[in-house]
């Protein structure tokens, strides 16, 4: 085997035992080994691959956003999608949110419902309805007293704690206070569901329930409830109901001394003048009153 082949095989680390012997016997074997060993000292600088990788990655990361629109569309896309989702859910949430309208003591307000219908709220009342679902179901929840003018359309329900009023016609008054539930129909036809029993009221009919007892009432002949004209009217009504209404209209509290609050009262009081109103409810029963701040003390004469 000639010298050149042996050296080539040595260079390529490809010598077998026999060839290695032959290679060692070459006259310039020592020179070759010395050269080879000496060359090792010219080894390249240490190359720390993980460190260099970190370096290159820290350089390219800021480039990423600008340089690779095509492949990195996913992240920005997700951001936009997230924003849209939030906007949409906010929109959805706010539009499907119930609308609450409350009145405080001595306050009345008119509520225009989504269609031509409207409701007038008496003092200290709460009305809740939903704009979004109005087209499908005209439901309002009521806690207190309100007068409704209902536009033609699908059935109109007034849901109260005491019972549900379904409207077939147009104008009616619902009064729901503690232990007190009264519906008066002024025009058209109204259905009152109380204890899952429906009573239909024609114009002038009324439904009254105090402390769970249904009380018959004579025909109503006024066209609208009296409170719309800033007046509360009572016919054979327990005196405590009268006082409760008075408290709501004037924001005061009564303190009774020796007075039977179950006795029946017929009469009315105005919402505009507390002195006249007080006289209206005390004189017929021969009571006297004295005012201290927001408390009114009633006494038998």
């Amino acid at each position: 085997m000639n010298r050149e082949v042996l050296i080539s095989k040595w260079l390529d680390n490809d010598l077998n035992d026999q060839e290695l012997e032959a290679f060692k016997n070459l006259e310039d074997y020592d020179d070759l080994i010395k050269l080879s060993n000496s060359v090792q000292t010219f080894k390249a600088d240490e190359y720390d691959t993980p460190k260099e990788l970190e370096r290159v990655l820290s350089t390219i990361t800021p480039i990423t956003i600008g340089a690779k629109k095509q492949t990195h569309w996913f992240k920005p896309f997700m951001r936009i999608a997230a924003i849209l989702a939030i906007c949409f859910s906010l929109y959805y949430y706010t539009t499907t949110l119930n609308t609450n309208i409350t009145t405080d003591v001595a306050q009345k307000t008119t509520v225009d419902l989504p269609d031509e219908s409207s409701a007038i709220l008496n003092a200290k009342s709460l009305l809740v309805y939903n704009k979004k679902s109005w087209e499908n179901e005209r439901d309002v929840a009521l806690d207190g007293e309100a007068f409704f003018k209902v536009a033609k359309g699908s059935s109109f329900n007034v849901i109260t704690k005491s019972g549900t009023v379904t409207v077939y016609g147009t104008q009616f008054n619902v009064k729901q206070r503690d232990h007190y539930f009264e519906v008066i129909c002024y025009e058209g036809l109204v259905g009152v569901t109380y204890n899952s029993k429906e009573t239909k009221l024609k114009a002038g009919d009324s439904f009254l329930n105090i402390d769970g007892k249904i009380i018959a009432k004579e025909k109503e002949n006024r066209p609208t409830p009296s409170w719309l004209n800033n007046e509360s009217q009572f016919k054979s009504m327990p005196y405590k109901e009268v006082l409760a209404e008075f408290e709501r209209q004037y924001g005061i509290t009564f303190s009774l001394q020796n007075i039977d609050n179950e006795q029946l009262f017929t009469g009315n009081f105005t919402h505009d003048n507390i002195d006249i109103a007080l006289k209206s409810i005390t004189l017929p029963l021969q009571l006297t009153y004295s005012k201290t701040n927001h408390t009114i003390i009633l006494k038998r004469e």
Partner: protein, 178 residues
Amino acid sequence: MAQSTTKMTKQLQEHICEERLFSSIFNKYSKDLHNFLYYKYGELLNPKDKVQEAFVKLWENCAKISSDKAKSFVFTTANNLMLNEVAHQKVVLKHQQTKPKLYTNESPEFLMQETEYMDKLQKALSNLTDAQREAFMMNRVEGKRFKEIADILDISTKAVEKRIYGALEKLRRDIKEL
């Protein structure tokens, strides 16, 4: 089998812009590239920085380059970067390395001979062509076999053998003459 291989390479091609694949390419080739540049151009031209630059360029063009072309891309890019600088600065290349002190017990005369030998070797290495030097150093210092070097340089095994053998002969001639 062939089908699944093509499918796999296709997948690789599609995701070269992904950091994970990019890192694996870096881990696979960057050291060879660095050593190649070092032996070819010496340390003065910052082979490490050229490796960095080449891989940054690879990243910037990742959408256009398939993973099987990545290796030749970074090698060509880094080589061009080096050539630009060589043309620019006309730097004389040197392989400089502090020698390990292996011969402390030797006589001063011997030490002097050794130093002389190393100086000659250094000069002789500088006299090799770039092609000879890069192949010879990868073989002798990095212990790479002809086939591996052929893969790195994209040339035939025979050509590698020719370069290395030629380099060896030239070195020995130069050392004798100097």
